[in-house]
Amino acid sequence: MTLAGINLLQILNGLTFAALLFIVASGFTLIFGLLRIVNLAHGALYLFGGYIGYTVSSVTSSFTAGIFASIIAVALLGLLIDQGLVRFVRGFVLREVLLTLGVAYVLDDIALVIWGGDTFSVDVPTLLQGAVHIGGVFYPKYRLFVLGLGIVVFLALWLLLNRTRLGALIRAGVDDPEMAEAVGVNIRRVFLGTSMLGASLAGLGGTIGGAFLTLYPTADWEILVFSLAIVIIGGSGSLVGAAVGALLVGMLDTVGQVLFPQFAYFVIFGPMAAILAFRPMGLFGRAT
């Protein structure tokens, strides 16, 4: 094998895919780290967000409206799932996993009823259409926008977590929820805010991704598998871990499809297994 197949185009593809994966997986890791829930409905929230973003942006002919609609709607959906269902099995890992898996299937079916089995693509606003010339290649503006957005989301989440009081509460909750509550934190409210934030990131990812990966009935499971890999590689609850994991998975996936198309998944899960063998908590995870 040579690296001849790898060029700037693939690197950019890998980076932009990583940016999208990061947006989705950061929500997943927040929920995983704080609420200790492997939310298998996270992919379905992504797909729902995408469909909602698609519908709203088509109806209003505004991409921005689609983005905000998907963020808000999916945050509310996350709230509903957390307060209406997950709350009753909190602390029972197996039940949580099965419940969120069930929720994923139900959401899938609801989406199938509403939007059918067709493939949709969210319309990109005129401003972001076309390509720009960088480093000798023409590259779609929209994908560069996704890369920029991924960086913005990373910085915003980093500032939220590390520079605000709410962020300190979330970190304290990740560290030791019992002690956080005992020293006066209303941890239920922090949990709730975090699950809404995590869900809204899935919703945002849906609309953003819906414009270049397209939306179709099984898209949610693909995203879920990638998110799981990212969180396992990066370590649950770690934002930097999610970013590094997303970069690794995004690049490996893109490169893998070029170099070893027949082993596309192995290229991701092979290194993941290797990392886990040496760092069972992930690259940036901490033992609890």
């Binding site: 970190r171 304290a172 560290d175 030791d176 019992e178 005992a182 020293v183 901490r286």
Partner: protein, 234 residues
């Protein structure tokens, strides 16, 4: 004031507290003594209303209000602070974040970040260190500082001297005595009898989930032998 009445606490089927009753009046430093595994931490956790242990019987009156149906943060919001056994700092929070994470209480006694840092100058020097980068003594000071930030009327301290060097234990005694003089009530769990004698007004001895002895500081001055006997010192 805190009135614990006939408290029965369980971990699953294990019956750990068998009808504990005690009280802490405002402004008092009360020591709770007892050997390992006698139920001291269980009592503290019961008062804080943590998920474990389960309290199946008894009452916890705090200034006339029943705490039994509150959640831990509601107990904290009633101005009961906790310094847990083993410190339990948050590894990913800096020193100053431990103090600022809560909305500043409408301070009657005026516990602010700067006042806590004045009280513990060593923490002020290590403001941006993380909890797990501190020495044992500094960790304990931070645990006390964190508890002060809810502006408590009562602090529950679970073995604060555990694992500290003698000079640190002495420093801690001074701190506890100083806090007591500000009008703060303290329920102090101790295994170190002499540490407790240095600061407490009253004493309870807990043995296998029961209060087996209660005495005031004056009574103990008269007759230390009885207390020592209850503690099994000889």
């Amino acid at each position: 004031m805190l009135e614990v009445r006939n408290l029965h606490s369980f971990y699953g089927d294990a019956h750990v507290l068998h009808g504990v009753s005690l009280e802490v009046n405002s402004g008092e430093v009360v020591a709770l003594l007892g050997r390992n595994g006698m139920g001291k931490t269980t009592l503290i956790r019961s008062i804080m209303r943590l998920a474990q242990p389960q309290v199946r019987e008894g009452s916890l009156l705090w200034n006339g209000e029943e705490l039994m149906h509150l959640t831990p943060h509601e107990v904290a919001s009633r101005r009961i602070g906790l310094v847990p056994q083993g410190r339990r700092l948050f590894p990913s929070l800096s020193v100053v974040e431990h103090l600022t994470m809560l909305k500043p209480a409408s301070a009657k006694h005026g516990w602010t970040v700067s006042r806590v840092l004045d009280m513990f100058p060593r923490l002020a020097e290590r403001k941006n260190h993380r909890g797990n980068q501190l020495s044992g003594g500094e960790r304990q000071m931070l645990a006390v500082g964190r508890a002060l930030m809810i502006d408590p009327e009562l602090i529950l301290m679970d073995e604060p001297s555990e694992g500290l060097a003698p000079v640190m234990v002495q420093h801690l005694e001074t701190i506890i005595a100083d806090l007591g003089r500000t009008g703060l009530a303290i329920l102090l769990v101790e295994q170190n009898l002499y540490s407790a004698l240095a600061v407490a007004n009253r004493f309870y001895v807990l043995e296998t989930g029961k209060v087996v002895h209660a005495a005031t500081a004056a009574e103990i001055k008269e007759n230390q032998a009885s207390l020592l006997r209850f503690l099994g010192v000889h």
